[in-house]
Symmetry: C2
Subunit: 482 residues, 2 copies
């Protein structure tokens, strides 16, 4: 056993040795994904896709509660539509895939595979929006998108990925801004309460905002290695797209006006985020609310009379209570199974053996803290539910502690670099607000601005920019980003 | 009112005048879809997508109950993969979209946008399948696919469409055949019990089978105009793909063997089917289990005290009971609303006015039979549920009557043509089994074979082929097909 266990853990590179290899070892070993023959595209295997299905279910319920409906728009976008909004085409044209041939004929106008759907959706909104009575128009789409990436990494950056994109139309700037912030809050609440990731929220700079947006807001998370991952963005598009796509409505006052719009998106990238926030040297550690298997029952001494019967009874009780439970009755030893399910990140392991049955109990082993406790078989489904909630809370708290321990105040450029490169975290620093300063820092050392946190802006008062020394206008997070 | 109602119905061409125009009027007017700027691609609007979401939910539960898991494979397929299986490439190459440029560079090898995913999935199965312990491998994928169609029609035939495709691997022919038939039965049961469509099932001929399959089975439905719609297919792929993609496994007997495979699919085309089976001159008629709105509450004399309160109470009760109910409180007259919701196919309308409230009742108006009945407000949610089940059963029965009245026995070619072109239905006829005969009939008059029904094969005995006079081997349905 001891030998097997060792051999097993050796499949995964320790985090501190090489975080990037640890990550690829984990996603591969846990069968979340596999590489394909197609450049930059990955296969999402059932265990990884199961996480995505749970993410979709949770998010979709939140979108519907806030009044949104799903729709589906064509994946192909004619070149002329993509080119209508100047900033948008500049941002996306270099990274799109082009369809130039259909069946046996060359196309008169090439089509791009959607990198995002603002343009095709706006071309429809121009028809559907006529009167203030049609507003707000609140749609969301679940789909695949393609961005031709030069270097890719599973879940974090692939040429094709899965996402949701919300697209809304409003009668005023204020309503669009309210929607933008509402959806950022939906994302933030989802990150905390489902993914157990304590994201930071704030506004993006002009340089980092979405191509074509008026303002972009973001949720950013600190990974285990101190780097940033942008987990979702919400854009107030202003009237940028409405003006080029001619989306006008007749307002209550009898005037024809350009509409105001928002868009917002999150993707399978979030799966990369939860791996890098929660994982450890044993492998994955899944937050219970998106774990395809929440509780794994491992019968001990399976061959002994009554063990499989009792374990099966418990399994049935848990499943009847809506818990995603499975039982592992394979030939391998319990020790091998413990390792296997820990590596796959299952939040709770339940061991049931002859001695446990005698005592009317089961052993609970938590993936988050590795604690083991004996729990009565009476009302076991209720005990599991409570334990899963507790594991969620504990994982969120552990991630919050890690986050807070990796944010460093910086007043000088040296301190920014020290925070990011030595202390491996985020620098929170006063900033002048100039794009040139941001570009200079990025060119110098590859560190980028993440966001301007809403609640800390008054700290900038009277300070100077940590990077260039000019009077500070904003407080901003600097980090290295995935 | 009368004038408005009339004007309203005139938006939809009567079925008997022009069925094809009736269809496009309905899908457009009911806001199921809209045409886009992209050739052959449509937009699925929220009301249409809502039907698809309910179809997905019902089917997905059935796939999971039968042991399948979802996964996601790349949308792009390298040319060399598509070309591996000879029949497959011949069937699909003429109708694929080609990506030839990514970002700013021409691709060394062009990629096709998946028309179906056998090839890309088999390239992965070749890695994943090693031992009999890995089998069966039971995966399904929900995604978009592209087939470059010359002439398109909303939902029925579009260049891009949404579908599910199951792909499984087995250790023996028998297991693959069992899976093929199991999934055909899942489809059939779904068509009957969810879509209220009494499909016919059977085997496809060699000519009509899937490109690359050993045998194809299908469910076919008879539309209101007597034409056939193929609603879903299930293929036994034999070892065709396993041999060219080298999917081998070490069997229990220590021998390496090629695996056996199946694939099976259904698509948004089913939405076209349910429109053309159930609809009438007033518009859509949705089967309750996939109706985004199952019950619409129309308050009568809304301004009178207590009406909106009581109607709102009923709404809350229905929604709490899991019924997809909505209330229409717009300014328009009740008559306008009746027409509107009938056109949109809502199965049950509930009218609540001051007199109803006095009597402790509501008026139920069924979309299927147009019957109106007074129903007590006590336990109204239960009454609605029962009514919806009754509507489902009645719609299925009406469709079954239509189906059975449009199947005609034919012994000669004239009778086949008469059944199809004069009586507007299916011909059930003895057939020689020769591809040449099928090709001749198709060339002559555009009539095609639909399937060989399992349960009627003994009727062929001693008969001659209705089309060519040679001894008959099979009983087969002939029809015009969408």
């Amino acid at each position: 056993m001891a030998k097997k266990e060792q051999g097993f853990v050796q499949d995964i590179t320790p985090m501190d040795e090489d975080f990037s290899r640890w990550y690829t070892d984990v996603v591969k070993r846990a069968e979340l994904m596999d590489y394909s023959d197609v450049r930059g595209c990955m296969v999402i295997r059932p265990y990884g896709y199961g996480i995505w299905e749970l993410i979709q279910k949770e998010m979709d319920a939140r979108f519907k509660e806030t009044g949104h409906k799903n729709a589906y728009f064509p994946m192909f976008i004619p070149e002329n539509l993509l080119k209508k909004e100047a900033e948008h085409v500049e941002g996306f044209a270099p990274e799109v895939a082009w369809v130039t041939k259909g069946g046996n004929e060359m196309l008169a106008e090439p089509l791009v595979v959607r990198p995002t759907s603002e343009t095709i959706i706006c071309s429809m909104y121009a028809r559907w929006v006529q009167s203030y009575r049609d507003l707000p128009m609140l749609l969301n789409q679940w789909c695949n998108v393609v961005r031709w990436e030069k270097s890719t990494r599973p879940f974090l950056r692939t040429s094709e990925f899965l996402w949701q994109e919300g697209h809304t139309v409003h009668a005023s700037y204020e309503e669009a801004q309210e929607e933008t912030m509402r959806m950022l809050e939906v994302y933030r609440e989802f990150a905390y309460n489902v993914l157990a990731i304590p994201v930071l929220t704030g506004q993006k700079t002009e340089k980092e905002k979405f191509a074509g947006a008026q303002d972009t807001y973001t949720m950013e998370a600190i990974m285990h290695d101190g780097q940033a991952l942008q987990m979702g963005t919400s854009h107030n598009l202003g009237q940028h797209f409405a003006k080029v796509f001619d989306i006008q409505f007749l307002d209550k006052d009898g005037q024809r006006k350009y509409a105001w719009q928002t868009s917002w998106g999150t993707s399978t990238r979030m799966i990369g985020g939860l791996i890098m926030v929660h994982g450890d040297d044993r492998g994955l550690k899944l937050p219970p609310r998106v774990a395809p298997v929440q509780a794994i029952i491992v019968p001990i001494a399976m061959h002994k009379e009554g063990v499989l019967d009792k374990a099966g009874e418990v399994l049935a009780q848990l499943q009847a209570a809506g818990i995603r439970a499975e039982m592992d009755t394979r030939e391998q030893s319990p020790g091998w199974k413990f390792n296997e399910w820990e590596m796959r990140g299952v939040p709770l392991r339940i061991e049931i053996g002859p001695k446990d049955i005698e005592k009317g109990q089961a052993m609970f082993a938590r993936r988050d803290t590795h604690e083991k406790t004996a729990v009565s078989l009476e009302n076991i489904a209720q005990s599991v539910k409570e334990m899963l909630d507790n594991i969620h809370d504990t994982m969120l708290e552990m991630a919050r502690e890690h986050r807070d321990a990796h944010i460093f105040h910086a007043e000088t450029f040296d301190q920014v670099r020290e925070a990011v490169d030595k202390k491996k975290g985020f620098a929170l620093a006063p900033w002048c607000g100039d794009r040139a300063c941001e570009e200079h820092v990025k060119a110098e050392c590859g560190i980028t601005t993440r966001c301007m946190p809403f609640e800390l802006q008054d700290q900038a008062e009277g300070k100077v920019c940590a990077c260039c020394g000019k009077p500070a206008k904003k407080m901003i997070y600097w980090a290295r980003a995935y």
